[in-house]
Amino acid sequence: MSGPDWANVADKSLADGSAGAPIVRVDNVSKWFGSLVAVSEVSFDVRPGITGLLGPNGAGKTTLLRMITGLAEVSQGEVTVFGGSPRTDPELYRRIGIMVEHEGSYDFLTGRRFVELAARLRKVADVTRAATTSIDRVNLADAADRPIKTYSRGMRQRIRLAATLVHEPELLILDEPLNGADPRQRIEFQELLLRLASEGRTILISSHVLEEVELLASRVLLVVNGKLAAEGDFHAIREALDDRPYQVRILCDRPRALAAGLIGLEAVDSVQLDDDTLIVLSSNVGALQASLAHSAADLGVRLTGVEPLDDSLESVFGYLVDR
């Protein structure tokens, strides 16, 4: 079910002997501000690879990330990172990299100085080398010795990422890191994240851009109203939503014949014929998937397209948020 990167990473961490224990464990955690409950009895684990944290504005994502990074206290429950508490164990910081949406960088410093400062704060042994490596990684070597105030928005984002990565953190927490980034910066950033994940790191990323999360993360956590509404592979989440009939669009050479054949199947609720396109509604998508090709073959119909219409992360998100 999971994508290849995820699978690779899981294998790698097995080899490291670090599998089993999750990197982040959120156990029955709640957070309230006065009478406002921001996060309510949420439990999940985060393991190596990329995990997407999704939810509408105000759902509690940022509060959750702040508790995981130790910036906010939990009102109830327990957050464990690398087996320790992020609130009380400062040593953990050397293994965590954090990048949040609105964050100042020091405009008067050069990019290199800024990254070196971050390295020093994390007590990296060879500051100069770590900074150079990190700056190379985000492709900013040419501009590294200019003050940050001369940088464009995209470059600022990259230099902050370099500072986030300078101590080679095993766990990366990214809160809407790409707001305002242009298409090319997004592509580069995605490639970088996949590369970091394939090195065995754990990445927890919150984003509103679902197409992107769909490309990156094999596992998603969906928070709605402070509660965990769903977690896992989003195809599996979609299949678990069995009260929502699946829509599948089918293209073939003889739609009327195939429609007649499909309507006889137990798995099919309805078939809609629209020019040369069939839209099939099914509550038992597994059965439909198993028998579709058989039906077409039996009828001698040439199948040229089968597309599930509502199992994108976006429709899954919509279903769960509106629930």
């Binding site: 504005n57 001369t150 464009s152 995209g154 592509i187 509103h208 998937q289 040439r302 397209g305 919509g318």
Partner: protein
């Protein structure tokens, strides 16, 4: 004055026209002799940061003079007369709503600043707010609005004076998925039901693919691509097959039928598929008894427009804007 505005030919097919349009800021060339036309549809204005999109918008709004060339709006020179803006709408990316006044009050005022007499302004404000889906909330101060509600008011102020063309700057930036979908639906509705044309800049290619009928891609102050969105997302002859189980059996069954499939992610990919290949693939699926989830040609995406370029070009551009 009012009579003169009414003489614009609002049936012109070309709403915006750039003719060898050039804009320099000191030594930085924001737009370099670009020529293009934008007609009555929803057009996506794409390009990396600093590609010249904002400069183009400013030129068409008549807020800056071209260094050379011509920016034409509704058939006349954009910089010639601010009256043409009575027929345009613009929605900035950044916040732009005063917090102390209500949406009704604000929209009425915006309609008046677009030249509508007060009694019409009030009616148009109420109607427009209803069209963008703002109801009881419209009498409360806007400071207390959610992001989604603010976006609606921001869009409403572009529509309240019934413009011919609306320019939207990153209309979905910072919105959550639900808010984004609502915004895009409103944009489509604005075109289909209200008959208003729109140009929207966006960094999110998914938004553009779902919303815009045409795209114009700027890069380094020049036109990189332009055309119907569908030409950029057309199907190729490469077929993706996704099964939920028995993948290796399917590969074997395909191979037995002389169909070469390679694995890519969770899919199997078959190149140059046509005619009877589809039957062979169907039969292979039946033979392997694999549950078929998806069988679809690979589509190009707008994102690919930006995939091939090297990083050097981007850095040069970043420096240009800085």
């Amino acid at each position: 004055m009012a009579r003169r505005i009414a003489t614009y030919d609002l049936r012109v097919e070309i709403l915006l026209r750039a003719e060898k349009l050039t804009k320099r800021y000191g030594s930085v060339i924001a737009l370099d002799e670009v020529s293009f036309e934008i007609g009555g549809t929803i057009t996506g204005l794409l390009g990396p940061n600093g590609a010249g999109k904002s400069t183009a918008i400013k030129l068409f709004l008549g807020l800056t003079e071209p260094t050379s060339g011509r920016a034409e709006v509704l058939g006349q020179d954009a910089g010639r007369d601010e009256q043409v803006r009575a027929r345009l709408g613009y929605m900035p990316e950044h916040d732009c709503l005063p917090s102390a006044v209500s949406a009704t009050e604000f929209l009425t005022h915006m309609a008046e600043t677009s030249g509508l007499p007060p009694r019409h302004a009030r009616v148009r404000a109420a109607d427009t707010l209803r069209h963008v889906g703002l109801f009881e909330e419209r009498y409360r101060p806007m400071g207390g609005y959610s992001t989604g509600m603010k976006q609606r008011v921001k869009l409403a102020q572009t529509l309240v004076h019934d413009p011919v063309l609306v320019l939207l700057d990153e209309p979905t930036a910072g919105l959550d998925p639900t808010g984004r979908e609502e915004m895009l639906a409103l944009i489509r509705k604005t075109h289909r039901e209200f008959g208003i044309s729109l140009v929207m800049s966006s960094h999110l290619m998914g938004d553009v693919e779902r919303t815009c009928e045409r795209v114009l891609v700027l890069e380094n102050g020049s036109v990189l691509e332009e055309g119907e969105t569908s030409t950029f997302t057309e199907a190729s002859e490469t077929l993706y097959i996704e099964v939920t189980a028995r993948r290796s059996e399917l590969i074997a069954a395909l191979a037995a039928r002389d169909v070469k499939a390679t694995e890519e992610g969770s899919s199997l990919v078959v190149d140059s598929v046509s005619g009877e290949d589809y039957d062979r693939i169907r039969d292979a699926i039946v033979a392997a008894n694999a549950p078929l989830r998806r069988l679809a040609p690979r589509r190009r995406t707008l994102t690919e427009l930006f995939q091939s370029e090297t990083n050097d070009a981007e850095d040069a551009e970043d420096e240009g804007i800085a």
